[in-house]
Symmetry: C2
Subunit: 80 residues, 2 copies
Amino acid sequence: MKAIVNIYLKEGVLDPQGKATKHALESLGFKNVQDVRIGKQIVLDLDIEDKEEAYKEVEQMAQTLLANTVIEDYNIEIVQ
Amino acid sequence: MKAIVNIYLKEGVLDPQGKATKHALESLGFKNVQDVRIGKQIVLDLDIEDKEEAYKEVEQMAQTLLANTVIEDYNIEIVQ
């Protein structure tokens, strides 16, 4: 089973990488960009058959290692 | 209009960050992880109303700045 964890900065947390990307896009002529936020997308291949079990396990991974829950939020998608 | 660009390493390209994460998960007791790949998720707020136009503009951004197309692939999702 495959799981996708999207990790993104909480609202209100500054995103300097996103800001730098916005400026770079503007200097390249992309004038319609209002905001850029950069997060992580982690794709996990799991040796688990049950969808619910996979979700629970990935939730635990996100809480303990993948995300810094002080400044980041995440969502989990189980595919296949 | 909001666009999400997911950027991930092409198949066959080594992902040391993913490998390190896999090992860290294993050492925490998550034994069912077969593979971990880490990519970026970029969320753009655009001042464009037309969905098709937004897609084209974001495609250009991905090609010229956001992705390194030698080693990375991307997909674009236009939301709202």
